[in-house]
Amino acid sequence: MLRFLLRRFGYLVFVLFVIALVSFGLNSIANNNPAALLAPRGASAEAIAQIKANLHLNDPLYLQFWHFLTRGPDIRGTKSGLMQWPPSLGYSFVKQRPVTEVILDKLPATISLALGAMVLWLAIALPIGVLAATKARSLLDRVSTFFALVGLSFPTFLLGLLLLYVFYYQLTTAGFNVFPAGGYVALTTDPLEWAHHLILPWFTLALTEAAIYVRVTRSSMLEVLGEDYIRTARAKGLPERRVVYRHGLRSALTPVVTLAGLDVATLLGGAIVTEQVFGLDGVGRLAVLSVSDGDLPVVVGVTLVAAFFFVFINVLVDLVYALLDARVRVD
């Protein structure tokens, strides 16, 4: 188990290094002059050159990358760098703040959105998927297939706007002020308001995702229910519910876990559309705004954070596998 973990950890570090290299390289190619952004308006060319030199922006690229990893540009004495603890992602000249701080500010909203939505879509999709599989070809199966297709072909922004229209606009104009239009309240500030503000975004994501999960759960269950060991479970005289859940779902969960891991990892890099529609100040909105502002250090930072989540959650999924499936452990 330890070797398994170490190997996965090595893989994580390697992937992050490669992504840092690539995104740093892209950043340098775009190469607008951060010194000009940083200097006061109307500063002389010499002053800008001086700032540029202070930031080591004249150094060769490999040296700059090394600095990015180890100490970052020296701004007001901030010691920063990816390999420092706590790791730092550099400095945003547009926002005049360390990138790490900027991203950490936005992460809670994104994490709340992604994890909450996942819990919700699994809670919706797993029972329906299992039922659709055990009653294959029944009315319920057909209905769920139909809604899954609708859900699959329904764009997130449309669903988000639709929910806003019905549950915010219509209800509010009718005099029921049930849901807020958007925004984010920190969990630590007020847990109830936190959930209250997130309900519509959660449903927006969950309903579009649930469609896929119903299909995956159903087909995975159908395959598993045809396995010989399910026949054995029935031959033992177990109640059918136990056969389906304890024996069937246990095996059928594997592809669902993989998919959920990938989806959450993607969402943690920013649920761009949903965050935009509901004005949630998350990583996705940050990325969009930074791209249009030309705030490249933040763009690189968000890329790295997203990549980190992606790889990290993949390792996590592997771990869950190892726990779910005894055979992986001995490899």
Partner: protein, 373 residues
Amino acid sequence: MALLEVDDLQVAFDTEDGRLRAVRGLSFSVEAGQTLGIVGESGSGKSVATQSMVGLTRGARISGRALFDGDDLLTMAPENLRALRGNQIGMVFQDPLTSLHPQYTVGWQIQEAILAHEQIRKGEARKRAVDLLGQVGISQPERRVDDFPHQFSGGMRQRAMIAMALSLSPRLLIADEPTTALDVTVQAQVLELMKKLQAEYGTALILITHDLGVVADMADDVLVMYAGRAVEKADRRTLYYRQHHPYSKGLLASVPASAAHAPGERLIPIAGQPPSLLHLPSGCAFHPRCPYVMDVCVSETPELLSVPSIASENRPSENRPASENRPAGGHVSACHLPPEAVGPSPDAESRRERAVAAGRSTPVAVLQDEGAA
């Protein structure tokens, strides 16, 4: 009354290509503590027949009767049938590699079987699982009980399956090709084990196989199935030495060192393929592959009729219908050949040849297997 009495069992599946009749009127019985061997080629309906009785075939149309200890398995409430499964009727399946759940330990799976039917504490169930594993010849059972199936060899997994099937001392054990997936030495060990445990527990056994050699060591009675029907039924000795149906004869000829077959002689596989159950041949389903095919075989389906025993062999023959649906211990065969033409003797062979010569309107030199398609 026998422990299990099956009468006119029919099982059909509605497939995309039409109705597939996998079992077409099967009757047999098993006495307590006895062994019935069911033999037949792949696809003859052995598994479907036995599994549909205990409710393990989904989406099958089943009719007939299967009285277990007087209660009809086919019509009882699913909940009652579930209570019998694993408890009174144990099952062992063909492929031990896929028949155990890969994500639970072997011990847990045996424990679960016990706890499904008995209200005892977990620790006690576990102790019984360890005992059972020991009984089926797994060494160091206290340690192996927590192993996952992939840590067991194929033979050990089948032993574990047997332990699980016997965990509640069932009155009937259905073993569906329990040794097919194992190598030869392990096969013998597993069969030996089943024989021993059967004697210990007094369990009745239905042993399904397509290997008559396995039946030779184990079975009291033998049922030969072809295309969803019984074509011959007899006690083991009779079937080996005085078989009547050409299909049984063919099966025996394909077994090494059987009575029908002198040592050193080459195996003669039965020519042709089993018929499609969607498009059965007319008359006797075996006729396209039968070396003794006569005109009547193409037009008329032979009934299961009793075959006279040795004492009456030389009396003029007369096809008598079997007195009951279940000929207790009697020898029955569904073939148009004269009933006294039994066994591999030259005399019987010449009787068959004479019947064939008289029964064909056009001489057929070679058997045709195209008819099966």
